[in-house]
Amino acid sequence: MTAHPPLNSLQPRPIAERTRPKLVVVGNGMAGVRTLEELLKLAPDKYDITVFGSEPHPNYNRILLSPVLAGEMTLKEIILNDVDWYENHDIKLNTSSRITRIDRVLRQVFSADGRVEKYDRLLLATGSTPFILPIPGHDLPGVLSYRDIADTDAMIEAASRYHHAVVIGGGLLGLEAANGLRQRGMTVTVVHVMPWLMERQLDRPAAELLKKSLEDRGLQFKLGCETSELMRGEDGRVCALRFKDGSTLATELVVMSVGIRPNTALAESAGLFCHRGIVVNDTLQTFDPRIYAVGECVSHRGIAYGLVAPLFEQAKVAANHLAEYGIACYKGSVTSTKLKVTGIDLFSAGQFMGADDSEDIVLSDPAAGVYKKLVLKDDQLVGAVLYGDTADSAWYMQLLKDAQKVTELRPHLLFGQHHLGDSGHKGETQASSLPDHAEICGCNGVCKGTIIKTIKERGLFTLEEVRQHTKASSSCGSCTGLVEQLLASTVGGAYQPADGLHKALCPCTDHTHEEVRKAIREEHLLTIPQIMTFLVWKTPNGCATCRPALNYYLISSWPHEARDDPQSRFINERAHANIQKDGSFSVVPRLWGGLATPAELRAIADAAEKYAVPTLKITGGQRIDLLGVKKKDLPRMWADLAKSGLVSGHAYGKSLRTVKTCVGSEHCRFGTQRSMALGVRLEKMLFGMWTPHKVKLAVSGCPRNCAESGIKDVGIIGVDSGYEIYVAGNGGIKTVVAQFLCKVASDDEVLEVVGAFLQLYREQARYLDRTVHWVERAGLDFVKQQVVEDLEQRQTLYERLLFALQGTEDPWTEIAANPSHLQEFEVMSL
């Protein structure tokens, strides 16, 4: 028997055509096709699928029509699903074929070009149509709308023959059209009936800044002007606009962009209930249970969305029900807007205008071209407008979506999260101001131009996709804020930051970290297969993201009961050493509190010589790193080190790394407390503690703080009357100064408070959250309440930690003493 799967399993299985139900999709745009993509992921063979589209093209990225108009991209580049895609998925595509009638009794659709198709399920994704002002002359030659490829082509063609254009409508699309025509060399005037631009997305101050910036680019504006007539020239073509006040404006081209209307004509003629859109319930089902509808044609809970992000959310839910999973629910979307005009950074979301019962926080610096307004209500962020500096738009969007209380954040809310890392991008915080060759991701060497090009060419919409395709922001994450800005400014409102509170643990499940933990606790689950069965995992044995998380949740929830699964640990935690780029390992013995005896130093030197260790390095955590050790030598090296009492330093794990200390009052003339002794006590207590992410401590003997307690997960600073305890600091990608937790009088109290804090972190943080991320979400007030104010709770947490740590063995000694564990390190030969 060979280990390869039998060949026939790789061949396509014959599909019983007649037995499959028929799914017909009316509308070959982004909403309809995205629904199919989601459906194919869930149930690839379920339906016999036919798509009707009225345009002659396969599905393309409508959002990128503006860059096409502006000459920054070509039509070919914005195709999302080419004809091969339909063929490969066995989908019948009818282009240039408009459905004109639905017979709901016979379950058939009829197209203008004479096709008839039966359906078992029908998906309507008819999109929207531009609203045309019903004024005299609206149908003259030279009057266009801006909606599809044909419109875009017509504008490009007109720009090559004429010089003067007017865009009616100063909304998002109108301004993008105006900018595009200007880029193509036309003089362009934007006529807008409202007193300021983009009034549905911007307040007046932001709109003024936008107007000025667009004027600098050569656009002209007539605001507060209502068009009453389009006038016909001698050649039969539009030649001027006449306004309500009688004045006129000469032009050769008029683009009407005054809004869109859900395209409901087909649905209405079939007797489906429509009210400002095809009315659907939370499963995207219309009043006919066989008919679903998604996208801009839909009215959900009274709202018709005109942006692409909600369509994607709807597509996911509709697909779930078409696949007969029946568990998804669409509850509406919080949307945000970004203008896709190269070089202009603009963001708005939520109730940005404010109301009587809300408060505004405003920063206005017109000379610098920066305006920020945040609208708060009941201590929550409900709206935001950002102009000129949109670095924090993703963060605000998340606060908005999560409806998070912002009480603690309020003093610095306006100044943003500064979620960019501190290094690797030369301190730049605004992506729009950077040239194309600027390096955005310092880890993987990815520049701005490459990221934008990939987003456009591959049709990417999410941060995760950009990470996969460009590698930018996929290593240390320091540049994530910049990448998000690039994504947002390239695809506009289509980019929506992930929902922070309800993020699925990984693609293998829809459950959140919190839900998984709850199930482990409440159902007393003890193994990874038990979790996967109980929560209906989508993959047979998880992925490299969920397995280590599940293993941690199990052993931290049920210490001494759940068994550790080595195969679900990253190699470092399995081999108790740190893998290096050449596959060798580094070994870091624990030096308690950074102290060493001559015998220990000698043992390290001996081991380094005996195993020909190429590099010895003093680490930032006051340890000695032996780098370049072969994996098969590890057990023998550990055994040698153990003879001098050295144990594992856990320099490799999501665990207690080091407790860094200064010399303190034992030697230092300034020292007020015995920092070395306390550091050693803490390290011995916490030895072998597994945590959601690595944990670093420091103890300084006086406020001069030589051990750098201010940037540690737990930092302790001795003062004459006791100790100050600081938590949730970080000295890595992003330097975060630790926050004051409390002051205590004795060493014993330090142990109890620190133990309780770390146990709370162990129990509540998501896997791979550092303490800083967790405290940011949980709130320092909550942490204080649990481990400072509520003495009983502090005691309970502390006891739970001590129980979990009972009998912790040194992993090096344990492996050396247990032959069955040695297999991991043994190499076989051919």
């Binding site: 028997m1 280990a3 044995n541 990253f570 994996k631 030969s829 051919l830």
Partner: protein, 108 residues
């Protein structure tokens, strides 16, 4: 005819785990065992930066490279997702609980 050489028994590789087999010269061969006891062999280097795939996390019929997280198919060595590259597959036999490799083999 290929000469097959017995390397180890199935039990000597942990489920969802891997073992390393040294040849005369590098690279080594990585032997993988899936949850349902299928066995696969690849040259022990990731197409990305030559990371040792044997040290990765095994899921279903894939291994995730420990260096930069590329996901490699155990069946054909192809990198998954947006990554492009291929690790060399090595013929392997599982018979009567014994795992064998070709004793003088060329990588495929």
């Amino acid at each position: 005819m290929a000469q097959w050489k017995r390397i180890c028994t199935l039990d000597e590789i942990p489920r969802l785990g891997a073992r390393v087999v040294e040849r005369g010269a590098p690279p080594n061969i990585a032997l993988f065992r899936t949850a349902d006891d299928q066995v696969f062999a690849l040259l022990d280097q990731c197409p990305h930066k030559q990371g040792p795939l044997s040290q990765g996390l095994v899921t279903d019929t894939h291994v995730t490279c420990p260096l930069h997280g590329w996901r490699i198919s155990l069946v054909d060595g192809q990198a998954q997702g947006a990554d492009a590259g291929c690790a060399a597959t090595v013929p392997v036999q599982l018979e009567d609980g014994w795992i064998s490799l070709e004793s003088s083999h060329e990588s495929h």
